[in-house]
């Protein structure tokens, strides 16, 4: 074997590993998306059988946004259905759950995540009025913010500073709820 052949061998191996890695990432993302679809189309999506003594619903807690202008922007994860890193110029969009629950919320999420899986259009942060979908969204690697029953538009300033969220949209209709003024 020639010297040139010898020196190319490790690179060929690396290339092969890279290709296999890419194939695995694709497979893993596909598996995650199928799992999501299975969960969201099940009879009881997000269903938790909790047997704790009945208590009054506690108050929602929301605190005023920080006045510290020097805090860095935190990243918003892509979620486990994306086989590769999302383009850095994608906008960060907070998706409000419209106070939906159960199968209605599941259907709306499935519609959104299908689109996101096929052609990612944003980094998604889920703005939840209840804790119902939190284990589900957390399991698939999404960022979540719980705002309870407060007006989602009021969360925009804080979410913009913390995550760089530029707009809040409805999960069901995609309608714009609030956005940062570019001026």
């Amino acid at each position: 074997m020639s010297d040139a052949g010898k020196s190319n061998k490790p690179y060929a191996l690396i290339r092969l590993l890279e290709q296999e890695n890419e194939a695995l990432r694709l497979k893993s993302a596909r598996h995650e998306f199928r799992q999501i679809a299975r969960e969201l189309t099940s009879a009881e999506p997000f269903g938790l059988a909790i047997d704790l003594p009945q208590q009054d619903d506690p108050e929602d807690l929301n605190f005023p946004p920080s006045a510290d202008a020097l805090l860095p922007t935190l990243p918003v994860p892509a979620g486990s259905i994306q086989p590769e890193a999302l383009a850095p110029d994608l906008p960060v969009v907070a998706v409000y759950d419209d106070e939906l629950s159960g199968r209605q919320l599941a259907a709306a999420l499935l519609g959104l995540l299908k689109t996101q899986y096929r052609a990612p259009f944003a980094r998604l942060l889920f703005l939840c009025s209840s804790f119902e979908a939190v284990p589900f969204l957390g399991r698939y690697g999404y960022a979540i913010d719980h705002i309870g029953r407060s007006d989602p538009a009021e969360a925009l300033t804080r979410l913009h500073r913390r995550y760089g969220v530029s707009q809040i949209r409805s999960v069901g209709t995609g309608a714009l709820i609030a956005q940062i003024n570019a001026d």
Partner: protein, 555 residues
């Protein structure tokens, strides 16, 4: 409320912490400036402030005499030229006399704080002789003072200061307060913030739900959870206010960036809630809690760490053990297998030379003995039919591949005609690996312990909560399947200890499992009962009482 300006928020000066604890600077329209140096640095803001302004003048501290006099001279000129009324205060009568003489202006002593410590002879000494402010508690230390809030410390110890530092001596005198001073109005409903991490399962959440329930019931406390766990919905359903948080790992964030945010937002929550106590259930106190609590205007909340034992013997835990020097109280939830504890925290609850008070409780379970359902009722509720049933509860599957054991379990169960019920974590919907078997039912009820009587045997991982539920609330055969992982407790030691006591059988490490599992299934088939297990004790109530005593131990 004292209106301290944001500039004192990150200051290394401990006085703003004490001023924020002072009830007499009332009125949100007031501005209290904690020193003449701060006043000079922010004079335009002081001049432009619309409400009442008080400036606390300080005697000489670490600066040299010339520098201290120069600052006072400039300050005197500014005050004399200003047309706005300014109240000049000092921390003690002696300081007021001395500063009035130096400035030839009227300086009055600030109204003293009410005495903070109660029934203690503990002493904390402050010193700046080596540079940054440090503190010692008896022979312990020095510790960097920036990690403590003086408003908290003054409730647990008598504060002393280096006698050569006049300013620090004034701060210590002011911190100790006076018996005759008007005590602050006590909050009839203590506010307690509980921080729960995102562990590998529901262990932290379950333990703290048990304690929180007791705090609510026996101490009329308002309990708020700061939850990194995605089980926030369970906490909320239990009736507790819940703030959902995201870990740096979940976000993929740089740890330092994330810490800045967590500290800022936790401090904001503390300012809003003004808690009397912050409790964390973890192996270590997280930095954001310490840093947020040290900020002024964040109340004088006590700090307690709930730290279970049975650490893996190779885990050094150097930083985690150092957390004992930051908390007021460290409580170890008792472990039935404590005699087999090989970890670094073994026996630490007996220490008397730690900054924190140390305590140990009885084992904690969320389910009480009186909440157990009779067998027939439990079976009906779970929809189990006739025949023998074995619960398989092996915990989250993130850290372990159960497949070799599962195969043996399914085969042995089929041989004995025993139905298997797979306990799924409410946080996980992943396929357990034997979902294809017709004999397997899924169950994701929380908590599952009240239904234990429905089962003729249980195969379980050996995490803290499952182990103590099974050993104290169940009398049928149990097969313990330990998981050894550095992020988990020493499950093998716990399992071996239980087996040695005759409470359960276990799968020994590295040995074939088939024979043990077959023998266990035969025990189930025969309807074996284990009567030697320990009686249930209410560890949650003991921890809640220890926290209650901490709340009552100072003003």
């Amino acid at each position: 409320m004292t209106a301290l300006q944001p500039w004192s928020r990150h200051s290394s000066d401990p006085l703003p912490q004490l001023l924020a604890d002072h009830g007499s600077f009332g009125g949100s329209g007031n501005l209290v400036v904690p020193s003449q140096v701060e006043a000079l640095a922010h004079w335009p803001e002081i001049e432009g402030f619309q409400g009442e302004v008080a400036i606390v003048l300080r005697r000489q501290g670490q600066e040299d005499t010339g520098e201290w006099r120069d600052v006072l001279a400039i300050f005197r000129r500014l005050v004399s030229q200003s047309e706005r009324p300014i109240r000049l205060l000092a921390l003690t009568q002696a300081a007021a006399d001395s500063l009035a003489a130096e400035l030839a202006l009227s300086v009055t002593p600030a109204e003293p704080l009410p005495r903070g410590y109660r029934g203690t002879t503990a002493r904390v000494a402050l010193s700046r002789s080596n540079g940054p402010l440090q503190l010692r508690k008896g022979p312990l230390g020095p510790f960097p003072a920036r990690r403590y809030n003086l408003a908290r410390l003054r409730r647990r110890a008598i504060i002393e200061a280096d006698p050569n530092d006049a300013d620090l001596s004034d701060i210590a005198t002011f911190a100790n307060g006076e018996k005759a001073a008007q005590p602050a109005t006590q909050n009839p409903q203590p506010v307690i913030v509980i921080v729960v991490p995102n562990g590998t399962g529901l262990g932290h959440v379950t333990r703290m739900l048990a304690v929180a329930g007791k705090l609510r019931q026996s101490h009329a406390a308002r309990v708020v959870f700061w939850s990194f766990s995605h089980a926030a919905g369970i906490i909320h359903r239990a009736g507790f206010e819940t703030v959902l948080r995201q870990t740096a790992k979940h976000l993929g964030a740089d740890l330092d960036d994330w810490l800045l945010w967590e500290t800022e937002e936790f401090a904001s929550a503390l300012g809003h809630l003004r808690p009397d106590l912050v409790v964390q259930d973890a192996s270590n106190l997280q930095h954001f809690i310490i840093d947020a609590l040290a900020r002024p205007q964040r109340g004088a909340a006590r700090l307690a760490l709930i730290r279970r034992g049975m650490w893996q013997k190779h885990v050094l835990g150097t930083e985690a053990l150092a957390a004992e020097q930051l908390a007021d109280l460290v409580v170890e939830p008792g472990d039935l297998a404590a005699p087999a504890d090989r970890g670094v925290t073994r026996g630490r609850f007996e220490r008397t030379d730690s900054f924190a008070d140390m305590a140990v409780s009885a084992p904690v379970t969320l389910t009480r003995k009186d909440q157990l359902l009779p067998a027939r009722q439990a079976r009906r509720a779970l929809g189990l039919g006739w025949g023998r049933h074995c619960l398989v509860s092996l915990g989250g599957d993130e850290l372990w591949d159960w497949s070799p054991v599962l195969r043996d379990i399914v085969e042995a169960a089929q041989k004995q005609r025993i139905g298997l019920v797979w306990a799924r974590s409410p946080l996980s919907l992943r396929d357990p690996g034997f979902a294809g078997s017709r004999t397997v039912l899924g169950q994701s009820r929380y908590p599952l312990a009240p239904y234990l009587a429905a089962f003729d045997g249980v195969i379980s991982a050996v995490g803290y909560n499952s182990f103590h539920e099974l050993m104290q609330l169940y009398d049928k055969p149990v097969l313990l399947v330990p998981r050894q992982h550095s992020r988990l407790d020493d499950q093998m030691a716990r399992a071996q200890f239980a087996a040695a006591q005759g409470w359960a059988t276990h799968l020994p490490e590295g040995e074939p499992a088939q024979a043990t599992i077959s023998s266990f299934m035969a025990d189930i088939r025969q309807g074996k009962v284990i009567s030697s297990r320990p009686a249930w004790r209410d560890g949650a109530a003991e921890i809640a009482d220890a926290l209650g005593r901490l709340l009552e131990s100072g003003a």
